[in-house]
């Protein structure tokens, strides 16, 4: 273990994967999170292990990241995913017209596909809209939004990382223009103290801008909430997507005994104020039922919103126009040393986000330590607690 100590701000998927990555590279890690771990965007995501097909046409960079990570995660986190695959279903002639672009995009980004006739698709998933024209099978999957990041954290903890939930960062410690630690408030013991660090990573997701401001720098992150609706009943076993340009309410993910319909997309200033507009709930029902008619009558279990931390201009209208890829910022470019921000991405790509961030971190610390997270199999989530 090197003498270097890195503090990670944010206990979501990104911070968890980064804690794991840096610990494996021999760096001492302390992760602080203002609430319970995975209580921000991470826990609330759709529960979809992306194949990347959703982004294959418009956002090929993100699509490529997804399919590569999809394959790596299945290897390092066995048991965390249902190997249920996904279907993209074409319901209209307009959807059919998108088929060629879709297949070309998948081929270009390395996403395996299998085209199913209407009858084949209905045999696999009898609850699909019988008017469907065709379907394309891709390696999507169901994941547990909380338990995969817990596995990163569990493995990091058992390798020596310190994880502190209920510790809120209230400021940064400076030595000149270099960030040398964080000031935290421990909400459990009601005390304030500082944690010294050789480097601080801001992995606060939609709150990244708030944290960056403590360092006097700017991060172009757009908190873009989406509404998700969970209904009772597992109406399909595969993940069902609409075969068209990514839009509202066009993914249904079966999760345990529920089916989760999502999402909508808009932009907000403050990720702590997320409304669940009634009309978005109606829209999810309506759009979901176009693909799986039985959803229209399925009783609702919950409706909630989660804020994506998208990279982009604050002039964004709905967030749909922004890429799902991620970006690492070395704030030395703005004159602040010892401070790195990682934003964007998806739960599916948390590991590669961590790899790229950790590459920068070890380079800045002057260490020569390659990434090992592609091979190391993660501990079960229960190891986080025991």
């Amino acid at each position: 273990m090197s003498a270097y100590h890195v503090v990670i701000i944010g206990g979501g998927a990104t911070g968890a994967a980064l804690a794991h990555d840096l610990t494996l590279r021999g760096v001492q890690v302390t992760l602080v999170e203002r609430g319970e771990v995975t209580s921000g965007t991470t826990g609330r995501h759709h529960g979809l292990l992306h194949s990347g097909a959703r982004y294959a046409v418009k956002d090929p960079e993100s699509a490529r990241e997804c399919i590569q990570e999809n394959q790596i995660l299945r290897r390092i986190a066995p048991g965390s995913f249902e190997l249920n695959d996904g279907l993209f279903v074409a319901l209209t002639d307009e959807d059919l017209a998108y088929y060629d672009d879709f297949m070309e995009g998948c081929a270009n980004t390395g996403i395996p596909t299998r085209t199913l006739s209407r009858d084949e698709a209905l045999r696999l998933e009898p609850n699909l809209n019988p008017d469907l024209k065709l379907a394309v099978q891709v390696p999507d999957g169901t994941m547990d939004a909380m338990r995969l990041p817990l596995r990163f954290l569990a493995t990091a903890k058992h390798n020596g990382a310190r994880v502190h939930p209920f510790h809120q960062v209230t400021g940064l410690v400076f030595q000149g223009r270099t960030v040398a630690g964080v000031q935290v408030r421990d909400h459990r013991r009601g005390r304030d103290f500082t944690i010294a660090a050789d480097l601080v990573v801001n992995a606060a997701g939609p709150w990244a801008e708030h944290v960056a401001r403590m360092a006097g720098v700017d991060v172009p992150v757009v908190p873009s909430p989406g509404v998700l609706v969970a209904v009772r009943g597992r109406w399909t076993n595969m993940v069902i997507n609409r075969l068209h340009r990514a839009g509202d309410g066009d993914i249904v993910v079966p999760q345990r005994t529920l089916s989760v319909i999502g999402t909508s997309s808009w932009v907000v200033d403050d990720p702590d104020h997320l409304d669940v507009p009634e009309e978005h709930i109606r829209l999810m029902y309506e759009k979901g039922a176009e693909m799986i008619p039985a959803l229209a009558r399925a009783p609702m279990r919950a409706a909630w919103a989660a804020a994506r931390p998208l990279v982009g201009s604050r002039q964004a209208q709905s967030g749909r126009e922004l890429s799902r890829t991620f970006k690492v910022f070395d704030h030395a470019a703005e004159g602040v040393e010892g401070f790195v921000t990682i934003v964007g991405g998806k739960a599916t790509t948390a590991r590669i986000m961590a790899e790229v961030t950790a590459d920068l971190v070890v380079r800045k610390l002057g260490l020569d330590a390659p990434c090992r997270t592609r091979e190391v199999v993660l501990l079960p989530h229960t190891a986080y607690y025991t």
Binding site: G35, E36, T38, S39, T42, G43, R44, G47, G79, S80, E82, L83, N84, D85, R114, R123, L124, E125, P126, Q137, P139, T142, D144, A145, M146, R147, F166, Q168, R185, H187, R188, R189, G190, L228, A230, R234, N237, M238, Q255, R256, T257, L258, V260, D272, H273, V276, E278, R301, A302, A303, W304, A306, P380, H381, T382, Y385, T386
Partner: protein, 377 residues
């Protein structure tokens, strides 16, 4: 959506070092859709950032936000706040170490849960390769148990026995027996066949009532007993001791203790049966002592006995006789119910059986009281 009304949320507060827990009351605006979780988040955001709570998925899939609302174990994310009256009390789960405010340490829960040997995710069966026409029942799923701990919090036995394996872990053990998937069912059976295992359960069934995902741990425990009592004898496994891996204490344990055995408030009929069974049992013991004392009068000769018989015909004494008859009938009939339910034969009908026991008790009681009154006059 109607305009928001205001609810007073009475929230349990405790931080390490506090001499005792206390309650803080917060006023929160509530719409018909506002959940307890959303209200608590709003309190933390707008009124008190030091409020500790756990949450993650917000749709009853992760099991993180379990707590007690007006004494009942729920997932805060799917519990609406409206229509609960002007004051709502929110407390952490019981029978678990308290870390602070509404947060308990799930370490001991998982330490036992993982001993059950259940694979955490069902064995996989790739759809891409298998393409089963009728595949819908055969595909891979996550286990239904959310590991939320509501069942352990509500269990009267977990309240008094710190080594009790608990409903969640035994439900997991039953799944290994039902569907081994490469695990050893004999080991799971040997593990629950012990003093702190399935025989310790008192069949209050509150675990099944509060379970947010219909896992039915109470029925699973009854099924384990049935298998152990009537099934193929399990090959001798390793001696299964009730152990809790040594975890450093993280906070006060907040075990409810014996109070849980006599307090059915906010509970379902299974729990009422459990409490009534204990109360009638205690009463019958007291009666037995009284009975021996009365018999002692016989030794004093006929005069004393006649005096007692006169007393026994008084209305007060007859009322006590009626009460005694109720106790005998309920305890006896519910004993039959417990035997049927406890060995798995009728575990899924325990609610119906309770009402049947109560009805039969009242009918026989009426007949008994009528006969008693007729005999006296």
């Amino acid at each position: 959506m109607s305009s928001p009304s205001t609810v007073q949320l009475r929230v349990f507060r405790y931080k390490p070092g506090d001499p005792a827990p206390h309650y803080d009351t917060f006023a929160v605006p509530v719409t018909p859709r506002t959940t307890v979780l959303e209200a608590l988040q709003a309190i933390r955001r707008d009124q008190d950032p030091s409020l500790m709570l756990r949450h993650s998925c917000h749709h009853a899939s992760c099991g993180t936000c379990g707590l007690r609302v007006d004494g009942q174990e729920v997932l805060a994310c799917v519990t609406p706040l409206a229509d609960r009256g002007p004051v709502v009390t929110v407390e952490p789960l019981q029978n678990a170490p308290l870390l602070g405010d509404l947060v308990v340490d799930m370490g001991p829960f998982y330490a036992v849960f993982t001993q059950a040997g259940m694979p955490l995710v069902r064995s996989t069966e790739a759809t891409a390769a298998s393409r089963p026409a009728a595949g819908i029942e055969r595909l891979t799923r996550f286990e239904n148990c959310l590991e939320c701990g509501l069942c352990v919090s509500t269990c009267p036995v977990a309240a008094t026995d710190p080594l009790y394996l608990g409903p969640a872990a035994m439900a997991a053990a039953w799944r290994v027996v039902q569907e081994p998937r490469g695990q050893n069912p004999a080991r799971a059976l040997a593990w629950v066949d012990q003093e702190h295992g399935c025989w310790r359960c008192h069949l209050a069934f509150e675990c099944s009532t509060v379970c947010p995902n219909d896992v039915q741990p109470g029925q699973a425990i009854a099924a384990l007993r049935q298998r152990l009592a009537l099934g193929e004898p399990a090959p001798p496994g390793p001696a299964a001791a009730a152990t809790r891996p040594a975890l450093a204490p993280t906070g006060p344990a907040r075990r409810v203790g014996l109070r849980a055995w006599l307090d059915p408030r906010g509970r379902d009929v299974g729990y009422w049966a459990f409490v009534l069974h204990r109360l009638t049992g205690l009463a019958l013991v007291v009666y037995l002592l009284l009975h021996l004392w009365v018999l002692r009068l016989l030794a004093r000769g006929p005069a004393a006995w006649d005096e007692f018989i006169a007393l026994a015909r008084s209305p007060l004494f007859l009322a006590l006789d009626g009460l005694l008859l109720f106790g005998v009938l309920f305890h006896g009939l519910n004993g039959v119910r417990v035997a049927l339910v406890g060995l798995g034969a009728a575990a899924r009908r325990q609610r119906g059986l309770f009402w049947a026991v109560l009805l039969l008790t009242l009918l026989l009681l009426a007949a008994g009281v009528a006969a008693l009154v007729a005999a006296v006059h």
